[in-house]
């Protein structure tokens, strides 16, 4: 079996990766995903607050203006977050784009080059500073945040989300006790959503990671935001938990933009992972109604 997996080494050109990343950063920032758009449309029928309905209508009009005029949905075009699923039989090769422009570098450099080109050519906001305290804008929105999964085979899938920080700032991680159980997890999740309130541009989308270790839970929470809000967990009890939390979150009364109403959260996605006998990490990654993502298979 091992021999078989070795006879399929596939080469992917770095220039192709750069081009794909560039296109993806621009289109994800200009076009509201269909799952969010249809959820917003549906929510008009549920929302009881007049102001809330006006706000949702503004958001839908905004999405039309952004895609028609090819401009960002939100001025916060985020920090560029990537999940890269790379088959262990993929070989990234440097290649020649044209006679005087040789593309060389690692996969990571290629991704950052794509971000640089996309954020510059797409007129996206450059929001990254060089150091947490020195805080000088890097001018091209790099470096990106990149998570790698090495998988079997020769496929290469790159998923991208521009993550705005109004909502990122309201995200939380809790290390609760095993004895707190599922009720304890629900409590801290709803506490985090309630605390985010009007700051995180509701209606929000919530990514949750439960289990693993401190950092694993946070990465799972981020990854959960990449899933369509129309999809549920394949684990029956997790699916039930998503539905219960969605209903409870919408009972908080926060409403669109925190101005009060029925529509506080559009979707809750949960990912779980095995954890330690002593622990129960719960990470809540808050995102806004402009939760954007795109993916490409190369």
């Amino acid at each position: 079996m091992i021999e078989k997996s070795f006879d399929h080494i596939r080469s992917v050109n770095l220039s192709k990766i750069i081009e794909a990343i560039k296109e993806m950063t621009i289109s994800a920032n200009y076009n509201l995903n269909n799952d969010i758009r249809s959820s917003l449309k549906k929510s008009i029928e549920i929302e009881e607050s007049k102001t809330g309905i006006n706000i949702i209508n503004q958001l839908l009009t905004n999405a039309d203006i952004a895609s028609n005029q090819k401009m960002p949905i939100c001025q916060d075009t985020g920090m560029a977050v990537f999940f890269v699923e790379i088959g262990q039989n993929v070989h990234i090769i440097n290649d020649i784009k044209n006679s005087n422009n040789i593309i060389k570098g690692t996969l990571e450099e290629g991704i950052n080059e794509g971000v640089r080109q996309g954020y510059t050519e797409g007129y996206l906001r450059k929001s990254v500073v060089n150091d947490p305290f020195e805080r000088i804008n890097t001018g091209d929105n790099t470096p990106a945040i990149i998570h790698y999964d090495i998988i079997a085979g020769d496929s290469l899938k790159i998923s991208f989300a521009p993550k705005g920080f109004g909502s990122e700032n309201m995200s939380r991680i809790y290390m609760i006790k095993p004895g707190d159980g599922i009720e304890g997890a629900k409590k801290v999740i709803l506490e985090a959503i309630d605390a985010a309130g009007p700051n995180a541009c509701p209606p929000m989308v919530i990514g949750i990671g439960i289990g693993g270790s401190f950092e694993k839970a946070a990465i799972l929470a981020k990854k959960a935001l990449f899933r369509s809000i129309n999809e549920s967990s394949k684990i029956p009890y997790v699916k039930d938990l998503e539905e219960e939390l969605l209903q409870k979150a919408n009972n908080l009364g926060i409403g669109p933009q925190g101005m009060g109403g029925r529509i506080t959260v559009l979707g809750i996605n949960i990912l779980t992972y095995p954890t330690h006998i002593a622990g129960l990490p719960v990470a809540i990654n808050i995102s806004c109604h402009a939760t954007r993502h795109a993916e490409v298979n190369l």
Binding site: S49, Y123, A200, G253, G260, C288
Partner: protein, 183 residues
């Protein structure tokens, strides 16, 4: 829908009540995290500020870059609480209106009541729509801050909602209670 024009005088502020939907026409200035730190630095050094704070409106925004021929890029509000620690000093100098999104702290609200000022919410994420109300934009200071540079904007019928009025009445708190379902 209430229409107001800048400058935002005390009389105009007093007419605005929490929950009012307002269209603003006139001049406003953009300032966010790093810009606020610069202004405070200048105040502490007794330097002349880049604009007259009296009866002014500050919009918490860092727009995306303008395409060729466009006035400005997408320009929705950023979250306001990060500006809280700098805000009372500006209210003391005559700042009358702030546009952002999200909650403010007690000190800001107390200073707003004392100085008769108003806090507006614009719809966060409606950045392309809000940009269409901005008719001119000019960087007047702190250009090195990029998206955080201080801009003078001229807006027409810029849509906002009064979140906290000059009596300290807060729409976030009042409306949330109305829709909250306790199980």
């Amino acid at each position: 829908m209430i229409k107001i024009e800048t400058p935002l005088t005390i009389d105009k502020v007093k007419c605005l009540k929490a929950g009012d939907e307002v269209l603003i026409t006139g001049t406003m200035y953009t300032l966010r995290d790093a810009g606020h730190m610069r202004v405070i630095e200048q105040i502490n050094k007794d330097e002349k500020l880049p604009f007259d704070m009296k009866n002014s409106i500050i919009y918490y925004v860092g727009p995306s870059p303008a395409k060729l021929g466009a006035v400005i890029g997408s320009a929705g509000p950023t979250t306001s609480y990060r500006m809280d620690e700098f805000t009372p000093a500006l209210l003391e100098l005559g700042l009358k209106g702030m546009i952002g999104k999200g909650a403010r702290n007690k000190e800001v609200i107390q200073s707003m009541v004392k100085n008769t000022a108003v806090y507006f919410g614009a719809v966060g994420g409606a950045a392309a729509l809000l940009a269409s109300c901005i008719k001119s934009s000019e960087i007047i200071a702190y250009e090195d801050l990029g998206p955080e540079a201080l801009r003078k904007l001229y807006v027409e019928d810029f849509p906002v909602i009064v979140v906290i009025d000059s009596l300290g009445k807060n729409i976030y708190e009042i409306e949330k209670e109305k829709y909250k379902i306790v199980e």
